[in-house]
Symmetry: C3
Subunit: 109 residues, 3 copies
């Protein structure tokens, strides 16, 4: 058994969950926020048998898309010589960030 943590864009959340459920997979959705853009995103928890892991990752990949966002960068590195002029910076937010950890024990009680 593996536990998948997938961080997807808020807009992609429902599509990814729906497709996983349609294929018989159970999903738990945790509300989360991105550290950098401080915008809401969605962290999905999916417990899945090892032999189905590729299928789950394939579904997440197919249903979540990357997008560009322009932000006012206040994280200007010091090289600006101390001048704190926020200026627009384009940030690419990936489709999904996926971590897979091994499950030592699984119980449904």
């Amino acid at each position: 058994m593996k536990l998948v943590f997938a961080i997807v864009h808020d807009e992609d959340g429902p599509r990814v969950i729906g497709e996983l459920n349609k294929n018989g997979f159970s999903v738990t959705r945790l509300c989360s926020t991105g550290g950098f853009l401080k915008a809401g995103n969605t962290t999905l928890l999916v417990g899945v048998e090892e032999e189905k892991l590729d299928t789950v990752i394939g579904i997440i990949e197919a249903k979540s898309k990357s997008r560009k966002q322009v932000v006012n960068s206040t994280m200007t590195p010091n090289t600006m010589g101390g001048m704190f002029m926020p200026y627009p910076v384009e940030v690419v937010i990936g489709g999904a960030t996926i971590f897979v950890v091994d499950v030592e024990r699984f119980e449904k009680v």
Copy 2:
């Protein structure tokens, strides 16, 4: 050290947490939603020494109970011949779904 992720029904959350605390265990509660029924549920995080793992799982099992819920199934399989008549379906929601992962390093700073 092991990290327990336990997904329990919202109504069982406080009872499970109270009993774990009473037995000296620390618990963190994450707000979560079930992917399928879209209803709120509770995901508990419990870091616990390996030799106490059975006790923690026993407490979660004792304090969370399964229940039946009738839902209007919109996930009708295609065998309905394309007719999209939602009809009531009984879904059993288990007491708790528990994943245990190994902790490589634990720090309280």
Copy 3:
């Protein structure tokens, strides 16, 4: 790749996230609640390469501080002879509680 779960006090959350981001680390913030004090706290998720793990833990430690809180203890042990007089008890809330788990597979799709 390692996945760090760090539970910090709500007030320390933004400082810890800001410092991690400034050092080039990505962070996801999950909203959470402490089981015992029932107060909101912050659970941070940080996926990090093994050789940078000490740096991430160092930043979390430096930016989160422990504090004392007085609570009305309703968890009085039975030794009070059944009298249920809640009385003020001082509880020390640590700076951060950190769990590190191994990541078997990491994907950005």
